[in-house]
C-alpha cells in the first residue's frame, strides 16, 4: 500500500466518523455509495465562504462578488483537471448526476433523437439513467435496448456487439454499478459505440469518486457525476460534455446567467459553460466541491482505488464464509467497493435495522436499481459499500453483526 495511505489519520479527518450512533457505540459507515462522509476541510471551506465571501457570482463588481466568482470558477477548473477535461467550457455544474443525465436527455435528446431511433442502455442502470430515457421514449417513440447482465454481474459484450448492429444514436451506461460494484470496460464500450456511429454518455456517479477517470482517454462524449459521493457536499454535480456537442445543443433551463442578451420577445444564449447554468447556482457547494477534489488529490485516486480494492477483496472473502449469505456481482478484481447481499430468509430491512444497533450503517432496498433486482429475482438486498476511510476491522464488525442478525432470527 502506498505510504501516503494512513487510514487512522484519514478517519480522524472526517468528523462524523468519530461520533457515536448510540451511547458507547461508534459509527461504522458502510453507505458511501449512497453518499460519502465529508472531511473537515470541505465543511470548513463552505463555512469560510459563507463567513467571508458570500455574494452572487458573475454580475457583481464589488469585492465579495469578485471573490465569489473566482472561487466558483476556481472549483470548475479543479473539476476539469480532476477528470482531465480539455477545457473548463466542458464542465457544466448541475444539481447532481441525475440532473446532468436529464440535461442530456432534454437538450441533446430532443434535438437529435427521432421516432424509431435506438438508444442502448444496460440492465444494471440506476433509475437516474433509465427514467429520463423512458420519459423521452414515451414522448417521441424512441426504442430502448438493454445490454444484458450475465449471472456473474458483468455486461454481456457479445450481446452489446449485436445490439450495435441496430445503429443506435446513443449508448448510455454506468461505469460502475451501484449494486453489483461491477466496473464496466468503459473505454471499450465507448470505442465500439463510436465505431457504430453512436454518441456515448457515461454515468460516472460511482466511478469518479473511486477510480482515476480521464474523459479524454475514455473519449467519452458525456460523463456525469455528483460531488456528494466524492466527499463533497450535496446539491452539486457535473455534466462533462465535449465542447462541439455542447455548443450545438439548445439550452436546458432558461433564466439568469444562461443568457447573452434578453429582449421582451427573444433571448440569445450565453457561451459555454454558462449556457447550461440558469439561475444562481450552488456557489458554496462548488467551493466545497473544490475542497473535496483537493482532498482526494492529496491522497491520490490511484491509492484510493488500490486501497478500496484491498477492502472489497477482504469483504467478499469474509461475507462468503457466512452461511446463508449470497453476494451479488463479479469477483473482486472486476468490482469496486460495493457488496450487495441477501441473507437467507431475512429481509434486508431487518438486517439493516439490527446492524444499526451496533452502529453499522448499511443500506437496504433496491438501491434505485429495481430492474436489476428483478433480473436476479430478488426483492431487495442489503448493501455494504466502502470508501477510503473504511478499515478492514469494520469489515469484521459487519460480519459479526450479520451473525447476530442470524441469531435473532434463529
Amino acid at each position: 500500500m502506498p505510504s501516503t495511505f494512513d487510514i487512522n489519520k484519514i478517519r480522524l479527518e472526517f468528523p462524523a466518523l468519530n461520533r457515536e450512533v448510540h451511547p458507547g457505540i461508534p459509527l461504522i459507515y458502510l453507505d458511501s455509495t449512497a453518499t460519502a462522509q465529508k472531511p473537515g476541510v470541505v465543511i470548513d471551506a463552505m463555512d469560510a465562504f459563507y463567513r467571508n465571501n458570500n455574494a452572487n457570482i458573475h454580475r457583481g463588481v464589488h469585492t465579495l462578488a469578485e471573490e465569489s466568482t473566482a472561487l466558483y470558477e476556481g472549483a470548475r477548473e479543479n473539476v476539469a483537471r480532476f477528470v482531465n477535461a480539455a477545457s473548463t467550457k466542458e464542465i457544466i455544474f448541475t444539481r447532481n448526476t441525475t440532473e446532468a443525465i436529464n440535461l442530456v436527455a432534454f437538450s441533446w435528446g430532443r434535438a437529435n433523437l427521432k421516432p424509431g431511433d435506438t438508444v442502448i442502455l444496460t440492465e444494471m442502470e440506476h433509475h437516474s439513467n433509465l427514467v429520463p430515457w423512458h420519459m423521452l421514449a414515451a414522448e417521441r417513440d424512441i426504442r430502448l435496448e438493454f445490454i444484458p447482465v450475465t449471472d456473474d454481474g458483468l455486461l454481456d459484450m457479445d450481446e452489446y456487439r449485436t445490439l450495435l448492429g441496430r445503429t443506435p444514436k446513443l449508448v448510455a451506461f454506468t461505469q460502475m454499478s451501484n449494486v453489483l460494484g461491477t466496473i464496466n470496460p468503459a473505454g471499450e464500450i465507448i470505442t465500439m459505440a463510436h465505431a457504430a456511429g453512436a454518441v456515448t454518455l457515461v454515468d460516472a456517479a460511482q466511478s469518479v469518486p473511486h477510480l482515476p477517470v480521464d474523459v479524454q482517454a475514455l473519449d467519452a462524449d458525456f460523463l456525469a457525476f455528483s460531488a456528494h459521493k466524492m466527499v463533497g457536499p450535496t446539491g452539486i454535480g457535473v455534466l462533462y460534455g465535449k465542447a462541439a456537442l455542447l455548443e450545438a445543443m439548445p439550452p436546458f433551463l432558461g433564466g439568469g446567467d444562461m443568457i447573452k442578451t434578453v429582449h421582451l420577445r427573444s433571448f440569445a444564449p450565453n457561451a459555454l459553460p454558462h449556457k447550461f447554468e440558469a439561475g444562481t447556482p450552488a456557489i458554496a457547494e462548488a467551493v466545497g466541491f473544490g475542497a473535496a477534489i483537493d482532498y482526494l488529490n492529496r491522497i491520490g485516486m490511484e491509492a484510493i482505488a488500490a486501497y478500496e480494492h484491498e477492502i472489497i477483496a477482504y469483504a467478499l472473502d469474509r461475507l462468503e464464509e457466512v452461511p446463508g449469505v449470497k453476494v451479488f456481482g463479479p469477483p473482486a478484481d472486476k468490482r469496486g467497493g460495493v457488496a450487495a447481499f441477501t441473507l437467507d430468509g431475512i429481509h434486508p430491512h431487518d438486517v439493516a435495522q439490527i446492524l444499526d444497533r451496533d452502529g453499522i450503517a448499511v443500506r437496504a432496498g433496491h438501491h434505485c436499481a429495481q430492474p436489476l433486482h428483478e433480473k436476479f429475482g430478488i426483492q431487495a438486498t442489503t448493501r455494504a459499500s466502502f470508501y477510503l476511510y473504511n478499515s478492514l476491522d469494520e469489515v469484521d464488525r459487519l460480519v459479526e453483526g450479520i451473525y447476530k442478525v442470524k441469531e435473532i432470527f434463529g
Binding site: 431487518d350 439490527i354 432496498g365 433496491h366 426483492q379 431487495a380 435473532i408 434463529g410
Partner: protein, 131 residues
C-alpha cells in the same frame, strides 16, 4: 430499540396465523411500499351485519411489515366495517408494542393502509389513511 425485534414480532413473522388469501372474499386490496418493494394483499370476509368474520393477508417484506399485518388481521376479526375504517396508526403501534422511526413506520403501516383502502372501497391507497 432493543424491543424492535420483540419475540412476538419474530414469532409472527416466522409463524404467521393469518397469512393466506380468502376465496371467496367481500373485500380485497393490495399495495406496495415503493421504498423497499414490500407488498401486502388483504382479503376480508364480512357477515350480513358488515362485521369481519375472517381476515387474511398475503405478501412479502420485512419482519415488521409482515408481523404487523398478521397482528392487524387478528385484531379486525369481529370488528364492524366502521371500526375498521376508524383504525389508526396508534392502534398498529399498540399491537406491535414498539416505537418506530419514520422509515420503519412505513413498513409497519403498509397493512393498515391496504386494509383501510379496502374497507373504504378506494381505488388507490393514500398515506392519509394512516396519519
Amino acid at each position: 430499540m432493543e424491543d424492535l425485534y420483540r419475540e412476538v414480532i419474530i414469532d409472527r413473522y416466522k409463524n404467521p396465523q393469518y397469512r393466506g388469501h380468502l376465496d371467496p372474499h367481500d373485500i380485497r386490496f393490495e399495495d406496495d411500499n415503493p421504498l423497499c418493494g414490500d407488498h401486502i394483499e388483504v382479503t376480508l370476509r364480512m357477515d350480513g351485519d358488515d362485521r369481519v368474520v375472517a381476515a387474511a393477508f398475503d405478501g412479502k417484506g420485512c419482519a415488521i411489515s409482515q408481523a404487523s399485518a398478521d397482528l392487524l388481521m387478528e385484531s379486525v376479526v369481529g370488528k364492524s366495517l366502521e371500526d375498521v375504517k376508524g383504525l389508526s396508526k396508534q392502534d398498529v403501534l399498540d399491537l406491535l408494542g414498539i416505537e418506530l422511526g419514520p422509515v420503519r413506520l412505513k413498513c409497519a403501516l403498509l397493512s393498515l393502509k391496504v386494509l383501510k383502502a379496502g374497507a373504504y372501497g378506494l381505488g388507490e391507497a393514500s398515506d392519509d389513511l394512516v396519519e
